[in-house]
C-alpha cells in the first residue's frame, strides 16, 4: 500500500441517550492510501456512516485519532478542520443534502462561496462559475443548472451533490451510498465518473455501499459489523 493519506486509529464513538450509552464504533483501525479506492461494506446500523463522518472530520470521535495527511486532525483547532472540509475533502451524503433555496449551480458554487469574502466575489465569480459548469457538464447536468433541487429527479440530485463534492478538486472524496437510491443504470453512470476521477486524477475515494457489484470495482473492501472491522480483502 502507498503512504496513507488518511488514518483512523482505535476509533471509538459513543452516543448518549439519556443515561444510557450506545457504543457505535468499538475501536476501528483503518488506513487509506493516497489514490486508493476503498469500499466500506456492512449491514444497516453497523456504523458505516458514523465512521465516514469521523474520517471526514465532520464529527469528533469519543476516543482514538484521525490523521489527515499526517496531521492529527482533532489535535488541531476547529478552524483547521473547517478549512480541510472546505478545500481538501468532498462529501456526498446518503440523502443528497442539497440547499433547497439554491439552484444546482448555486449548490455547486457553495464551497467557493463559503470561502470567498463578499468584496472579492464579483472578481472570482466568473472563474468559479466556469469551474462549476465544467463539473456539471461532466456529470450531465448542464441543462439543469438553474433548477432548484425539488425540481430534479433523485439521480439528478445525487449528481448535483457529487458535483458540489468535486468542484473544489478535493484530495479525498467521501461518498455515503451514492448509488443507494438510484436505478442500476444511473448508479453505474455515477460510478463511472467516480472511478474515472480515481484512475485519472488520483482522487482518493472512501465509499460506503451495500452493493456488492460496486464493491467489486474498489481497490480494497473493508467490512463493518456492530462497529468492528471484520476482515480486509
Amino acid at each position: 500500500m502507498t503512504e496513507p493519506i488518511l488514518e483512523g486509529r482505535s476509533l471509538v464513538k459513543d452516543y448518549h441517550m439519556g443515561a444510557a450509552r450506545l457504543r457505535v464504533l468499538h475501536g476501528v483501525d483503518l488506513a487509506v492510501g493516497r489514490g486508493e479506492f476503498l469500499c466500506v461494506l456492512g449491514p444497516s446500523g453497523s456504523g458505516k456512516s458514523t465512521l465516514l463522518h469521523l474520517l471526514g472530520l465532520l464529527d469528533k470521535p469519543t476516543a482514538g485519532r484521525v490523521r489527515f495527511e499526517g496531521t492529527d486532525a482533532f489535535g488541531q483547532p476547529k478552524r483547521w478542520r473547517d478549512r480541510m472540509r472546505n478545500q481538501a475533502i468532498g462529501f456526498v451524503f446518503q440523502f443528497y443534502h442539497l440547499m433547497p433555496d439554491l439552484s444546482v449551480l448555486g449548490n455547486t458554487l457553495l464551497p467557493a462561496m463559503i470561502q470567498a469574502p463578499a468584496v472579492l466575489w464579483p472578481m472570482r465569480r466568473a472563474g468559479e462559475r466556469k469551474r462549476a459548469m465544467e463539473v456539471l457538464e461532466r456529470l450531465g447536468l448542464s441543462d439543469r443548472v438553474d433548477h432548484l433541487p425539488r425540481e430534479l429527479s433523485g439521480g439528478e440530485r445525487q449528481r448535483a451533490a457529487l458535483a458540489r463534492a468535486l468542484v473544489h478538486r478535493p484530495r479525498v472524496l467521501f461518498a455515503d451510498e451514492p448509488t443507494g437510491n438510484l436505478d442500476s443504470a444511473t448508479g453505474a453512470e455515477i460510478m463511472r465518473v467516480i472511478e474515472d476521477l480515481n484512475r485519472r486524477d488520483g482522487l482518493t475515494v472512501v465509499m460506503v455501499t451495500h452493493d456488492q457489484r460496486v464493491a467489486d470495482r474498489a481497490d480494497r473492501v473493508v467490512r463493518l459489523r456492530d462497529g468492528r472491522l471484520l476482515h480486509t480483502s
Partner: protein, 576 residues
Amino acid sequence: MFADTGTSAWLWPALVGGGLAALALLALVLLTPVYKHILCAKYLFGGWKAVVPMVSCLPAALGVFLLILVFAIMDGFAEETRKMTRGTLSDIIVDAHMEGLPYYDELCRRVEAIEGVEAATPIIETYAVARIKPRFGFVKPLVRPCRIIGIRPAEKVRMGRFREYLKRQRPEAYPSADLLRVPERISEASGEPPRPGGIPGIGLIGAPMAAAEPETVEAGVGRRVAAAAGAVVMLIVTLFVWRAARRRPGHVGWIVGAVACGAACLALAATAVLTPVHETEVERDQVIDVPLLGYGDTLVVSTIPIRASGAIATEPGGLPKVQSRALAVVDYFKSGFWEADSSNVYVDFDVAQQMAGMTGGEGEEGAELARTNQVHVRITDPARGKDLCQAVEKVWFDLVREKGLATAPRLTVSTWEEHQHMILSVVDMQRNIVALMLSAMFLGFGVLIALISYVMAYIKSRDVGILKALGARDAGVGSLFLGYGFIIGLIGVALGMTGSLLMLHYLDAIEIWVNETLDVDVFPRTMYYFDNIPRNISPAWCVAVGLAVLALSTLASAVGGLLAALKQPVEALRYE
C-alpha cells in the same frame, strides 16, 4: 425636549460615532464570506415562504411607530404647555411672595445694567375675590377667586407674549402699550366716569364653548397616502408573481397575473401622484369664547392688604380691612394656560399696589416703603438664565447692604422653568411614563422576535448542517441568522419610521377623516385650547428609537443565531 439643552455638544460626537459604526458594519459586510449575503437574500425574498418570517418585522415596525408617534404628540403637548406657561411669565422671576420687596425701581435699574439683561419690571401679585354680575341670563352674581396682577403695561408688553394674548388689543390695532385705559368710547357710551381698567382672563368671566366653525383643510391627502401604500404592496406582489411566472414557462395564467398586478401597481402609483390635493372647507367644532361681561362692564374685586411687617391690615376693631374696587373690563386675556386664564385679572401697577396695600407712606405701624411682589426680568440669551439669576441675586444683596435694610425680605430668584416646575414636570413625567410603558411593551415584542428567529433557525437546521459540513464556521453560520434578524429589524424600523412620520405629517387630515367617517371626535377642541394636535418630532428621539429597536431585534435574533452556531452538523444531516 432636546432643543434647548445644548444639542450641538453631543451632536457631532454622535454623528462621528454613528459614522464609524456604520463604516465598521460596512467593512464587516464586505469582508464576510459571500454565502451569507446570498442565503440572506434567499431567506428574505426567496418565494412565498419567505414572506412568513418577514412578518416578524411587524412587531419592530409597530414598536417604532408607537414610540415615535406617541412620544411626538406627548412632547408636543409638553412643548405647548411650556410655551403657554412661559408666555405669561418672563425669563427670570424675582419673587418676594406676599411680603413684597422695597426699592424695586432701583433694583430694576440695576438689574437692567447687568450685561445680558434686556429689561426688568415690577409686578404686583395678590389674591382677591371677584364678583361678576353677568349681563344676561344669570340672575345671581358669580363669585370667583382670582389673582390681581399689577403691571406697567408699557414694560410688561416687552416680557413674554403678554400682548399676543389680548383679545382686543393685538399689536397692530393698538401699537400703544397703554392697555389699561378705559377706552373713551366705552365711557362715553355708558356715560359713567372712567374707572380703573382691568383685563380678566377669559376663563374667569367667560366659558370656552364648542361651535361649528368652517376650517380649511387639505383634502385628497388620505387617498394619496393609501394609494401609495397600495402601490408598494402591489409592487411586491407583482415581483413575486413575476418570479413565479418565470419559473413556470408556458403557464399563461401566471404571466397574465403578473401583468395584471403590475398594471394595478401602476394605476395605484398614478392615483397617488395624480390625486389633487386641494384646500377645502369643513365644518368642525372649534372653541369659541363666550364672555359673560362685555367691554366696559364692571368686575368688583376685593383684596386684603398686607403690611410691610407681614400683618394683615385691619380696621379699628380688629376686622380685616378689605379693599373693594370696581374695574371696567377693557379687554380679555387668553394664553391657553388654564391656570392663568381662569384666575388672572391684569390691572395697572399703581392700582394693584394700592389694593395690595403696598404703596408705603405713613401707616399705622410707622413709615413704610413702597413694595412690589415680583420683578420680571427679560434676558437676551435664555440659556444663560441660571448665571443671570445669580447676578440678579447679588445685585439685590448689594442693594440691601447699601440701603442698610435691617430685615430684608427673602427672595426667590428663579428661571421661568424653575418657577413653573410643578406643572412642567408633571407634563414631562406623563410623556416619559408613556415612553417607558411603550418601551416595556416593546420588550415583549423582543421575545416574539426571538421566538420567530428560533423557529427560523430550527426550520433551516439542515441548511446549517450542510454549510458546516462544507466548511462554514460556527460563528459565520450564526451571524447569518443575526444578519437576517438585523435586516428584518431594518425593514421594520424603516416601515415604522415612515408610517409614524407620515401619520404625524398628515395628523390633522387623518383626524378630520376619522372625525367625518367614524364620527369620533379624537381630539375635542373644547378640551384643549390648541388649534391642532400638537406634535414635536425630535430627530434625536427618532434616531434613538430606530437604533434601539434595531439593536433589540438583532439581539433577539441572536437566539436563532446561537441555535445555528451550536448545531452539530451530523445531528442536522442524519436523516433525509
